[in-house]
């Protein structure tokens, strides 16, 4: 019996293991490697010796009925089952051994306890199923008896069935139910599993729980992803961080102290509140009862206040009126100014005003209050002004100043008076003479003025910038030009006067004077000299061919002078200032010689201002006379000035060129404006010459050499010469003799050698026209670069791109600065940050979400999961 039992168990095990392996295969991955049948066993090609299978083999057509019953469970958790095989085996054995006792139990207790039977149901069933499975193999080892029923009894007609056991229970409570359940059990004999061992069960439960919670946590993924990818996350809800207005503060106010409570009781009185709520008239009329005494008191108080105010006002007015002297002086000035403006507007009023002023001035002059004749002033003078304090001194000074002003005014008045007298005289004369006479007079005057201007302003400032050679030269040239201009003007005057003379009276004493040697003085000499000079310069035949009488008068005297001058001029173009001065002196001397000593030489020393003045006078003159001529002259007058300036510019760069050509060009240019003289023919120089001239100053090779040397010096600097500190080692004579110590000299020499070697080793040492820079990389610039690629970046380009655009407000428009500089996390001080709450995030609206976070500061529209219906997970909007 034992043996057979073991056998069956063996069998069962094999079966189960087979099932198990099947189950495993089913439960595991389909792709898992499955070991095939070994080649020996497959008996392929009879290459292996046939070996008898000595083990017990099941028949081919063997079928296990229980496969289906066990399968469900086993397939489900195949892995577990296999591991737990041993346990199960034992379990099973136990159940088998227990069968008879269980049966007996059922039989014995069937009558008494239906409920117990109900509980036992499944056990009975298992017994049956096990019995059925084992029936084939059971063999009798013990003699048949009441306690050991034979196979016939068990299987045959006499066999005991559940129904037999149940029959006696008929009519008892719960019998029908029991029978029904038994019947269903018989019909669909589905097996019921023994409960799993506790550790296994717990493990399964844990697994399930973990899976469930994992699934639950998955919902956070999109939110977390969004937050991590967002450039900035915001934790600043729009929340009130305190009372924002006075109203809110006031509304929350609660009276605490005695006083506050008192006030509150009055303010929040029902009547008052009521009146407030209405139109408030009652508040003003009925509730506002004041006693007569109070009112009197109030009025008194107010009266007192008003009187105080009035006094204060008066006082302030008085104070306002007190003003300083300077204030009044300025006021006076302003008034005067206003009056003058008024005078311009309204002549009559101005006249009146002038009269008034005149009167006042006359009065002042009469009294001479400011002359220092007052008692006070005299006393101060007696004591000495130096002894006085500053205030008095200032007062005295002011008086003196005023006096000076007044007297000066008188002088100027005198001048004007005289001039007006002159005019009147002229007028008187003009009464007699005709228009022509007046014109001639005017011309005469103009001439006089021009000459005067030519004469004066000879002094050249000998200091500052004007003393520089080129300035002097320019100065001179200007003078000459101006003088020439003046001369021309004079000439013109003369011609006009001549015309006048021709047409009118010839014996006009003033106009007729320039004719003849006798009259050749002061006024005429410069004109002629100028004339000759210009003529010489022009090299025109005007000089000889001129038929004008004035010109005829001094040809002989002036020729040599003119030549001399011409030479002078040519020299002037490029000579030192000293020479220039000498020239002018010579010139003067010669002139003096030539013109009988009485002649003043105005020529080259006149300033350019002369010309300006001259032109000014012309203009005035011709405006008076005839417009067209005046215009022409006015046009002419700036001419020489410009030419002078041009000359000055052209003069300097032309140093290397021929003197002659220089002088020529100058002359031409000057003349080009002054007089329309035909230009000499000009030939184009050859191309070579042109180039040579153009690049005359450029020495490219030398420059390159120099720059290379500089660079060499910079990159391999020359060692400094050994120098002792002044006073160092010179305490005694002995030390003095020693000089620079030898080690210093050695060092210096070695440094020199080093440098030379370094220069020799340079790559461009033998390349004459090349500089190859060998200086070390710029340390300052090096700071802006990293040695290696920093961690999160994978390529150099991306890294450089990331730090390319600047962030600052200077380099970006104001609209983008904020976005560029926004920190990763934005918090608001004083706001408590709550842990995250779940909200639905649409994974497909990723971009929009980003935009939203960037723009609207992402108002957290969080939905909060409802607390009690967790499984359904309904969401409520909280905000």
């Amino acid at each position: 019996m034992a043996e057979t039992k073991r056998k069956t168990r063996d069998e069962g095990r094999r079966e189960r293991s087979k099932i198990g392996s099947d189950g495993e295969v089913l439960g595991q991955d389909l792709y898992e490697y499955e070991e095939g049948v070994p080649e020996e066993e497959s008996k392929k090609n009879r290459r292996f010796d046939p070996v008898d299978n000595l083990d017990y083999e099941l028949p081919e057509d063997f079928e296990d009925e229980n496969v289906s019953s066990d399968d469900d469970n086993e397939v489900k958790n195949a892995g577990v089952i296999e591991a737990e095989d041993e346990v199960k085996e034992e379990d099973e054995g136990r159940t088998i051994r227990e069968i008879p006792s269980e049966l007996l139990k059922i039989v014995s207790f069937a009558n008494s306890e239906c409920s117990y039977i109900k509980q036992c149901n499944f056990r009975v069933h298992t017994v049956i199923s096990r019995g059925r499975r084992n029936n084939v193999v059971v063999s009798e080892a013990y003699p048949e008896s009441e306690y050991n029923p034979t196979r016939d009894i068990l299987e045959g007609e006499g066999a005991l069935s559940i129904r037999d056991l149940l029959d006696p229970l008929q009519g008892k409570h719960g019998y029908s139910k029991l029978r029904k359940s038994v019947r269903t059990l018989e019909k669909k004999s589905a097996p019921i599993q023994a409960p799993l061992p506790k550790p296994v069960q717990e493990r399964l439960e844990r697994n399930a729980a973990y899976d469930k919670s994992k699934e639950e946590l998955r919902k956070w993924e999109p939110i977390i992803k969004r937050n991590r990818e967002a450039p900035t996350i915001y934790f600043d809800d729009d929340r009130d961080l305190g009372p924002s207005s006075v109203g809110t503060i006031a509304s929350e106010f609660e009276p605490r102290t005695e006083f506050e409570k008192k006030i509150a009781s009055l303010v929040y009185d029902d009547e008052v509140m009521d009146a407030h709520r209405k139109d408030g008239s009652r508040l003003r009329l009925e509730l506002n009862k004041v006693s007569a005494e109070d009112e009197k008191d109030r009025q008194n108080r107010i009266a007192k206040m008003r009187s105080l105010l009035f006094r204060h006002e008066l006082k302030s007015k008085h104070i306002k009126n007190i003003k300083s002297k300077t204030y009044h002086r300025l006021l006076k000035k302003d008034k005067l100014k206003a009056n003058s403006i008024l005078g311009q507007m309204d002549p009559e009023a101005a006249k009146e005003l002038a009269m008034k002023q005149e009167y006042e001035r006359a009065k002042e002059r009469m009294t001479l209050r400011h002359k220092g004749s007052s008692k006070w002033a005299k006393r101060i003078k007696e004591r000495g002004v130096d002894v006085q304090d500053d205030g008095t001194r200032a007062a005295i000074a002011e008086q003196q100043h005023l006096h000076a002003q007044l007297t000066r005014k008188m002088n100027s008045m005198k001048d004007s008076d005289t001039s007006s007298d002159d005019i009147s005289e002229d007028d008187d004369m003009d009464v007699n003479s005709d228009d022509e006479g007046r014109a001639s007079k005017l011309l005469e005057k103009a001439k006089e003025k021009t000459l005067k201007l030519l004469d004066e302003d000879n002094e050249v400032p000998n200091s500052g910038v004007l003393n520089l050679p080129f300035m002097e030269r320019a100065f001179k040239r200007k003078n000459e030009a101006a003088a020439e201009e003046a001369k021309l003007a004079l000439q013109e005057y003369e011609s006009w006067s001549k015309q006048l003379g021709d047409s009118g009276g010839v014996n006009n004493p003033k106009v007729g004077s320039p004719s003849g040697r006798m009259v050749f003085d002061g006024k005429e000499a410069p004109v002629s000299s100028k004339k000759t000079k210009s003529d010489n310069k022009n090299r025109s035949d005007n000089y000889y061919g001129d038929s004008d009488s004035e010109d005829d008068m001094e040809p002989r005297e002036n020729t040599d002078v003119g030549k001399y001058r011409n030479n002078d001029l040519m020299k002037d173009a490029n000579t030192s200032p000293v020479l220039c001065q000498e020239d002018s002196e010579n010139h003067k001397d010669s002139l003096v010689k030539n013109f009988d000593g009485s002649v003043q030489d105005p020529g080259p020393q006149t300033t350019h201002e002369v010309s300006i003045f001259a032109s000014g006078t012309w203009r005035r003159l011709f405006q008076m006379k005839n417009g067209s001529d005046a215009n022409a002259n006015a046009k002419k007058s700036p001419g020489p000035l410009q030419s002078v300036v041009l000359d000055q510019h052209t003069q300097e760069p032309v140093k290397d060129l021929d003197e002659d050509s220089d002088a020529d060009s100058e002359g031409q240019m000057v003349d080009g404006v002054l007089s329309a003289v035909p230009e000499p023919s000009y030939q184009l120089p050859s191309q070579e010459e042109l180039i040579r001239q153009a690049f005359a100053a450029d020495n490219v090779e030398d420059e390159f050499k120099k720059t290379k040397e500089d660079i060499l010096n910079e990159e391999n600097p020359e060692p400094e010469k050994p120098v002792l500190l002044p006073g160092w080692g010179q305490w005694t004579n002995v030390q003095k003799k020693k000089g620079i110590p030898s080690y210093m000299q050695k060092e210096h020499e070695s440094a020199k050698k080093k440098r030379e070697e370094a220069i020799k080793q340079r790559k461009d040492a033998n390349l004459k026209h090349v500089i190859i820079s060998e200086k070390p990389p710029n340390k300052k610039a090096q700071k802006l670069f990293t040695q290696s690629l920093p961690y999160p970046f994978t390529s150099k380009e991306i890294f450089e791109q990331s730090i390319r655009m600047p962030l600052g407000p200077e380099f970006n428009p104001a609209s983008t600065v904020g976005a560029l500089n926004r920190p990763e996390v934005i918090k608001k001080p004083g706001v408590i940050i709550k842990p995250i709450e779940f909200e639905e995030v649409n994974a497909y609206e990723k971009l929009e979400g980003h935009r939203k976070t960037e723009q609207n500061h992402q108002k957290n529209n969080k939905s909060k999961s409802n607390s009690h219906s967790r499984k359904n997970m309904t969401y409520m909007k909280t905000k």
Partner: protein, 443 residues
């Protein structure tokens, strides 16, 4: 005659000069200098230590911050004293006497009204938190309160944590118990393994999930909805404290005895997401900043460090020279940590910065500050800026310990490399650091 022509030679105008490199992008040079200055100024004005508050007569063993009140902070000490501090005035506002032994855990309900404390006297006490105002400050120090409830249980407690938004709290001791405010016995109790639970933390984002660490070197997850433990992970060394990321409910960070912190994704426990290493001794405690971007750790080496949630190395560190013992160390650490946690709320930035936080109320100053930060962040890779930003003067013992650790790990690495080189290819595989310290994941 002389010809004058306007001409520019390319040689002259393309010659490289010394300033050229800077002139090519002057704004970069300018901003670099600004970044450098900002880094220096940060160093100059950094004042990490905000203040110390004294009053406890025994070592502090645990702390809790009030989630609904910015300046309220609770501390429990080994002599059973619990105090409520006002951070603004740095004074004790309230005291909660009653515990017979050491207080080992404190937690505050989400609304900030109920304080839960537990200790070695096997009792859990609930206290009502007074609403502290400036008016009451002077009176309150001697005003003592009775606990709302006292629940006595079978074993001593090591830690407690309150669930977010609900009335439940969890205690850790010989097992894990879930309590309700209104019930004298725990609602649920979990047991998985026999060792003491050291720390308990609820997930603030997903309030039904609970993580614990135990003295059997394990980290366990529990799901209250199933009433079942979910997963367990056993590491090579003990995890002293654990903290969930408040903004990323799937992630938590464990402060381990092996000087490192490990950030885990609670769904994949077989490897850490990130290993944060810089401490030279056991990490005792950890807390996340409310923004979830940084966390702060306290270690037995007497330092407090701030880490990025995804950074391998610490960003800042503070040292407490006076503290020596484990408790003192960890509590001091907690103190500063919470300080920082709160400072982040007040200052609006979790940095160790100069404390004149009022400047953040002014638009201009804030703008300038933001610009400086941005510039500094941009040029942090450049050598000079990097040097200044990263430089921390470590005390000698810590510096030496760090060096020792480095040499040890280097030696280990070399040995492994050699072993690999001298054995058949593929026979020896090395695990990454993220997996190396994980012994197994239990189901």
């Amino acid at each position: 005659m002389k010809v004058k022509v306007i001409s520019r030679s390319t040689d002259e105008h393309t010659k490289e000069r010394s300033q050229d490199l800077q002139h090519s992008n002057p704004e970069k040079a300018v901003e670099y200098v600004r970044a450098l200055n900002a880094a220096k100024l940060d160093k100059i004005f950094a004042r990490p230590f905000v203040g110390a508050m004294d009053g406890h007569i025994d070592a502090i063993s645990c702390m809790a911050k009030n989630p609904n009140h910015l300046t309220g902070i609770f501390s429990g000490s080994m002599d059973g004293d619990i105090r409520l501090w006002d951070l603004a005035s740095r004074r004790t506002v309230h005291q909660f006497p009653g515990h017979q032994g050491a207080v080992r855990g404190l937690a505050v309900s989400t609304d900030g009204h109920v304080l839960v404390s537990c200790g070695t006297d096997c009792s859990v006490r609930l206290w009502s938190v007074p609403i502290s105002t400036a008016m009451e400050l002077d009176v309150s120090s001697d005003k003592s309160v009775e606990p709302l409830e006292t629940y006595v249980w079978k074993h001593a407690f090591r830690s407690v944590d309150h669930q977010w938004n609900f009335d439940r709290f969890a205690t850790g001791g010989a097992g894990v118990e879930i309590w309700n405010h209104n019930r004298s016995a725990p609602e649920q109790s979990f047991e998985w393994g026999t060792d003491t639970v050291i720390s308990v933390r609820f997930n603030p984002g997903q309030p039904d999930i609970l993580a614990t660490s135990a003295s059997d070197r394990s980290i366990a997850l529990y799901d209250l909805r199933m009433g079942k433990p979910a997963a367990k992970l056993i590491m090579a060394t003990k995890t002293n404290s654990i903290c969930w990321n408040p903004m990323e409910p799937i992630n938590f960070t464990a402060a381990n005895e092996d000087c490192n912190c490990y950030s885990f994704d609670s769904r994949k426990l077989n490897e850490a997401k990130c290993v944060h290493k810089d401490h030279v001794s056991a990490v005792m405690d950890i807390d996340y900043s409310p923004t979830g971007r940084e966390f702060v750790t306290g270690s037995y080496d007497r330092t407090v460090r701030i880490f990025q949630y995804n950074g391998g190395h610490s960003r800042e560190f503070i040292i407490q020279r006076e503290c020596k013992g484990c408790f003192v160390s960890s509590s001091a650490v907690m103190l500063v940590m919470l300080f920082l946690g709160v400072m982040t709320l007040i200052l609006g930035c979790g940095r160790l910065k100069h404390p004149n936080n009022w400047e953040f109320f002014f638009q201009e100053k804030r703008k300038r500050h933001e610009y400086h930060e941005a510039v500094k962040n941009r040029y942090k890779h450049l050598p000079e800026v990097k040097r200044i930003v990263r430089h921390r003067h470590l005390p000698k013992p810590i510096y030496k310990a760090a060096e020792l650790r480095r040499t040890m790990t280097e030696a280990e690495r070399r040995k492994e490399e050699k072993r690999k080189a001298h054995s058949a290819p593929g026979s020896i595989t090395s695990k990454p650091l993220r997996k190396r310290r994980i012994v197994k994941v239990e189901e």
